[in-house]
Amino acid sequence: MNWSVIPRYWPQMYSGLLMTLQISLVALLISIPIGILIGLGRISRNSVIRFFAGFYVEFIRGVPLLVLLIWIFFVLGRFLRLGSYWAAIWGLAVFSSAFIAEVVRAGIQAVPKGQMEAARSSGMSYIQAMRLVILPQAFRKILPPMAAQFIILIKDSSLVSTISVVDLTLVGKNLVATTFRSLEVWTFVALVYFVITFALSQGVRYLERKYQVVE
């Protein structure tokens, strides 16, 4: 074993880690508004909107993320001239939005029916009732699972190394190819992922306690 390979190549690994965090965060930020819209669509009174929102969720959840990434990079990316960076972000964002849609739907449905009735009976439109009464309450319930989704994204984002985004995983792969120190490099890469996700999951636990809904 020769662990000196780690400090020597730390700058590359650090920039790989930053790339991992960056694409995960940007993907999350894109997936939240999409997820909210799809989640609202899932409970829409319009059956056509409900059908397409349901189809979107089922389809995305039924396709492996790796296949989705490759498809966006090689098929969609060719027409839209997406580089690997944006192909990776959109792949992760679309994938994550389907999960967020389900979280949003469950959060809204967990708000008691009487809340919508009270809001509508005071003359609010459906959209006003959603914005002023339902979503603020649902948001408390969905904040912790949304933060948990960020952790899942960080782990899932290691797949973007296959479409040549230089994230932490691809830096590890490249280092092993040049230094042949696979034990040291992969152990360290695994540890870095663990430390980041563990710290974040402690944060999620804090959020869960803080936003426990008091009825």
Binding site: G114, A118, R120, S121, S122, G123, V133, E215
Partner: protein, 245 residues
Amino acid sequence: MEAMISVQTVNKSFGSFEVLKDVDVQVPKGQVFALIGPSGAGKSTLIRTINALEGIDSGAILVDGVSVHAKKAKVNQIRAGIGFVFQSFNLYPHLNAVDNVAVAPMHVKGTKKAAAREKAKELLASLGLDDKFAAHPNQLSGGQQQRVAIARALAMDPKVMLFDEPTSALDPEMIKEVLDAIRKLAETGMTMVVVTHEMGFAREICSQVVFMADSKVVEQAPPKEFFSAPTTQRGQDFLEKVLHH
């Protein structure tokens, strides 16, 4: 005199179960109607059709001359003029008492925030809640929550007020404070319909008692007449059960 609330031959079914059969009720302006009867008689459904929380299958309902269930009815605008108080309060748990009351005037009527909050405080104070402005619903007792809910309904300056079993979810010692609030409101000349199991209250403050059973209006009379001598067998049976237990 034209009725403030006019329910005209209304029919409604949930699936194969008829909840309202040819219901006719006329509530003149400024009068308080008690809607009583055994559970499952259709009282709550009827009061919920008046502000279109429930649809109807046939017939018509007019509130201040405006048809509530017409195809082109401006439901939001109609509802803004009808105060509704629920059995389970349904206050907004994420807002304090003042904001619970002020939110609809601000967003439905376009009242300025400061004015809406000022009025909310006046209403809450008039209902004996002047020390609860900043309290969230979970910090209030049931009786206090229901009084906030009454203030919330009044904040829209409604033409009529509907109460759907306003005291049924309350502990016994809190029933009086809510009934007193409703009584005070009756004295101001507000047109009201109250679904209630409080017979003493119905007798004391209501101008008419509407007795429903089996999805129909069985009889309607001033409380003195109804409670001393109901004209129908159904009414006599009901009174026997609720008054002599």
